[in-house]
């Protein structure tokens, strides 16, 4: 059952081949069986079965949507009412959200069944899911390897088939990179496409919620329900949501694909280059025109990102002060003690590192040289992309320099960890939509290819990804667990 697509499952539910309750129980069993992967922080078994029952009633009455009765899960960054919402942190280990994120409301309204909350890097800061207070997520393809981050639990859950589809968030690559490491498909939509209300903030101008599943088509179905203007999010864009599925099978003849020369240098891992070359060949066969493009300011993306993201996060995380909710130290002696020990004891190293970096970048005397400068550089990078997307329809690139590294390998060297974001990070600075889909294996571990589209061009991206998945079967592989 876990190998079926959303569409197949929806058909099965309607045809009464099985019920949502049975389907849900099936996934709950798998989750228990594979608890060692540590993909879930909280499993909401009772609520899930209740939701499944309601879904069955709705399906029987003929009012169902595609997602009705489909078991999915949320990255633990989305507030779910009355359910623990931790953001992967000790700081929120005791936090029961009093409200639902808009994304959660929308998926509830579609009748999706929420299995639980997925593990993630603490406060979305990390590229390996090793910074989580709840421990590292294991890569289902090789339990010694990382699942990627920050949406590591999301990617692992899809790869190990512990949910049909999942939500994730992406600030610098946090959907795309774990998707690549775990051999699944993931999409980060245009900034402003999906509401951030109830999505715990890391870097406000970069964060964006998206979908992950075993195929581009399933990503499309989930994104369809997630996307849309939300008056509660001032950065949400009031642009109609097109039908993401109707043009999935559109032929690619005449499609112009750009290859940024800055990304395809001699430095690129030989196996990775080979894998991507093969993928490019597939696209040529599908009728696409390949063109080399140049984006000279890409090399500044990593420093610009880390200045901006850290600055915004240092401010966004100030609300975690032990006063109104979340962790509070024992017996605080005075106000200062309350603040320093609550935050000192509950935040992990990486979070502290970024808060300090961000505070420094915003401080008097440094603001102009760091934050302001980084925002100006950001503009240059955006312009590079705009130019490129005038010449081509989509941009093709690697997602990661290598397949998943081992757990513990990079933790001691944060800079090395940051540098691995090189292919994904610039996209968030520009606010463009991008996808990662499986493209092959290196040493038994999956690797992905990245497709970057123009603003609000998610339908095309999904079409281009889907086309590749019609002629290849990387995305249908499953790990032996």
């Amino acid at each position: 059952m876990q190998n079926k697509t959303i569409t197949q499952l929806a058909e099965g539910l309607r045809a009464k081949a099985f019920t949502s309750v049975e389907l849900t129980q099936h996934f709950l069993n798998r989750i228990s069986q594979h608890a060692d992967l540590n993909a879930y922080i909280t499993v909401t078994a009772d609520q899930a079965l209740q939701a499944a029952q309601l879904a069955d009633v709705r399906i029987a009455s003929g009012n169902a949507e595609l997602l009705t009765g489909i078991p999915m899960a949320h990255k633990d960054i989305f507030c779910t009412r009355d359910v623990k919402t931790t953001c992967g942190s000790k700081m929120l280990d005791n936090f029961i959200a009093p409200y639902n994120a808009t994304v959660v409301e929308k998926l509830n309204a579609a009748g999706a069944v929420n299995l639980g909350k997925l593990n993630m890097d603490e406060f979305a800061m990390g590229s390996s899911n090793e910074t989580s207070f709840y421990g590292a997520v294991k890569n289902p393809w090789n339990k010694n390897a990382v699942a990627g981050g920050s949406s590591g639990g999301s990617a692992a859950a899809v790869a190990a088939q512990l949910a049909v589809c999942v939500t994730g968030t992406d600030t610098g690559g946090s959907i795309r990179q774990p998707a690549a490491f775990c051999g699944v498909s993931g999409i980060k939509p245009t900034y402003g496409r999906v509401s951030r209300f109830g999505m715990i903030a890391y870097a406000s101008s970069l964060d964006q919620g998206g979908s992950m599943a075993r195929s581009a088509q399933d990503c499309a179905i989930l994104l369809q329900s997630m996307a849309g203007f939300d008056a509660k999010d001032s950065t949400s864009v009031d642009v109609p949501v097109p039908d993401y599925c109707v043009d999935l099978d559109k032929p690619l003849a005449g499609l112009k694909i750009g290859l940024p020369q800055e990304f395809f240098t001699a430095d690129l891992n030989a196996d990775m280059a080979k894998t991507l070359d093969a993928a490019i060949e597939e696209y040529k066969k599908l009728g696409a025109d390949i063109k080399e493009i140049s984006m000279p300011n890409l090399k500044y993306a990593i420093p610009a990102y880390y200045v901006i993201a850290s600055a915004e996060c240092s401010s966004n995380l100030s609300r975690y002060d032990g006063v109104r909710f979340g962790y509070r130290c024992e017996n605080p002696a005075d106000l200062n003690d309350l603040y320093t020990r609550s935050r000192g004891e509950a935040f992990g190293k990486e979070v502290k590192r970024r808060i300090l970096m961000g505070t420094y970048a915003l401080s008097a005397g440094y603001y102009d040289a760091y934050y302001l400068k980084a925002q100006q550089v950001r503009r240059l990078i955006s312009e590079d992309f705009k130019q490129a997307l005038n010449e081509v329809d989509v941009i093709f690139s690697p997602v990661t320099p290598t397949p998943a590294f081992n757990i513990g390998e990079k933790l001691a060297n944060p800079i090395e960890m940051y540098l691995a974001d090189i292919y994904t990070i610039a996209i968030n600075l520009a606010g463009l939509p991008a996808m990662s889909i499986p493209a092959g294996f290196i040493g038994g571990l999956p690797v992905g290819l990245q497709l970057i589209g123009n603003y609000f061009d998610e339908a095309r991206l999904l079409n281009v990804a889907h086309a590749y998945q019609q002629v290849t079967n990387w995305h249908t592989q499953t790990p032996s667990l």
Binding site: C79, F197, S315, V323
Partner: protein
């Protein structure tokens, strides 16, 4: 103050905008609710919440800007002011820094008969913090977040004032203006209108400003004057004794009438301002400005001028009657309804009515006598149905009942007697009974006239028409 020194004063005034809901959420702004009952998830700074701008707050800011002839920024942004305090839930206050919504403007004030123009540097929108209460919590502090998120317009003056008197005049003018514009209720006890004063001194003639101290916690006009005067003296004394004024924040203690340095504020806070990434820039179009301008109420200055011209009022009356929009409206209604001369309306409002309102501690909007009934009174005085003296009696009845002036005059039989026949008859009786005094008058004792007027009035129970009485008496006594 020693004449070799000059004081330099600037005021920062925080006005709570009278919007129904908070500046970035739909929570209510009503004063006085039970603690933490008007704090939604956004007011509480819960994980994942986002601010959404209240348009009414923007409109009110634009209204203010136009009323002080200020530049309205076509494009302004919100910035985060970062600091930690328990009554600041997010750990930052959403405010405006580099591009405030209102730019340079001015306010003209009157001090001792002279008009002075005080510049306004800027006015910007921000959210209020919650309240910290330190009593009744056994060594702990209670945090009430009802106020957190209430819209504030922070109005910053140029350092143009040179005395506490000028500062108070500016503060009063601003207070009147925001109430006139109906953008703020100006209630200082409830914290709707708060003033911080920046005070420094310099030797007269020096171009540079001296180091300034900021005085906080002054919530009345009286205390502003006292606090500033005290601070000026403190600084002068300090410098004359060889000391240096330190840039610091001081609290005004109204009981001891002194300012005290706030503890643990040695370092200036670095607020690390940056544009708030959760909010979009605010664009004010020319259309919006035109709309707002069209809806601007007549401002106090204009109204006062119009009252002097159209109603032939003197400066004093015009000032009193335009001191509040409600009072001005009341006056005009009374003039229209009574069809009387404006001066008599003005006199009775600024006299009898104002005195009664003051005694009862009521505002004109709570007056027990509405404009219609009051107009009825003035009309009957003007047409001689009753004398002014009787008018005061009628006023009492009006105050304590819902009857019209006519009904009261009827019921109480207060109609003025103008019937010359009746008056003559009474005068004859009085004269006959007081022949001696009559003779004294005829012999040249002018004072006796008053005696007879009094006697006649008494006999007529005050209802005699004074003009008629005088006329007839004069004839009869000649």
């Amino acid at each position: 103050m020693n004449t070799q020194w000059e004081a330099v004063i600037g005021l920062e005034i925080h006005t709570q905008l009278a919007t129904k809901s908070k500046i970035f959420s739909g929570a209510s702004t009503t004063y006085g609710a039970e603690p933490n009952t008007q704090a939604c998830v956004i007011s509480l700074g819960m994980p994942g919440v986002l601010p959404v701008l209240n348009e009414d707050a923007v409109h009110k800011a634009v209204i203010f800007g136009m009323a002080i002839n200020a530049e309205i920024a076509p494009y302004s942004i919100f910035a985060r002011k970062n600091y930690f305090y328990p009554d600041l839930p997010k750990g930052y206050q959403i405010s405006q820094y580099e591009l405030p919504i209102v730019g340079k403007g001015f306010l003209d004030i009157d001090v001792d008969g002279e008009t002075k123009r005080v510049g306004v540097t800027r006015a910007h929108l921000e959210e209020d913090a919650g309240k910290s209460l330190h009593e009744n919590f056994h060594g702990l502090s209670g945090i009430d977040l009802n106020r957190a998120g209430t819209p504030l317009l922070e109005i910053v003056s140029d350092p143009d004032m040179r005395s506490a008197k000028e500062a108070v005049a500016y503060m009063r003018k601003l207070h009147e203006l925001v109430r006139y514009l109906e953008i703020c209720d100006g209630n200082m006890q409830e914290g709707s209108f708060r003033c911080d004063a920046n005070v420094s001194v310099r030797p007269k003639g020096q171009a540079e400003f001296g180091t300034r101290a900021e005085i906080k916690n002054i919530n009345s006009f009286k205390f502003v004057e006292k606090a500033i005067n005290h601070e000026i003296e403190r600084q002068i004394e300090l410098i004359e004794n060889g000391g240096k004024v330190v840039q610091e924040t001081r609290l005004y203690d109204s009981v001891k009438d002194e300012t005290r340095s706030m503890r643990s504020k040695e370092e200036a806070n670095d607020y690390r301002y940056f544009p708030d990434p959760d909010l979009l820039p605010v664009f004010i179009s020319d259309e919006l400005k035109a709309q707002v301008k069209a809806l601007l109420p007549e401002l106090p200055e204009e109204k006062k001028l119009r009252f002097k011209t159209d109603y032939q009022l003197n400066d004093e009356s015009a000032t009193i009657l335009t001191s509040s929009r409600d009072l001005a409206n009341y006056f005009e209604e009374v003039v229209n309804l009574s069809h009387c001369e404006s001066t008599i309306c003005a006199n009775w409002i600024t006299g009898e009515l104002s005195a009664a309102l003051n005694r009862a501690d009521l505002d004109i909007s709570d007056s027990p006598i509405d404009a219609t009934r009051f107009a009825g009174l003035v009309a009957r005085i003007a047409d001689d149905t009753i004398s002014g003296k009787i008018g005061k009696q009628v006023f009492e009845f009006l105050w304590n009942s819902t009857d019209s002036a006519d009904d009261i005059i009827e019921k109480q039989g207060l109609k003025q007697i103008t019937d010359t026949g009746a008056i003559e008859a009474i005068i004859d009786t009085i004269l006959a009974a007081n022949e001696k005094q009559a003779q004294q008058y005829r012999d040249g004792n002018e004072k006796m006239f008053g005696f007879f007027v009094g006697q006649v009035m008494k006999a007529m129970q005050g209802k005699g028409n004074p003009a008629e009485i005088n006329k007839i008496l004069k004839v009869k006594l000649s």
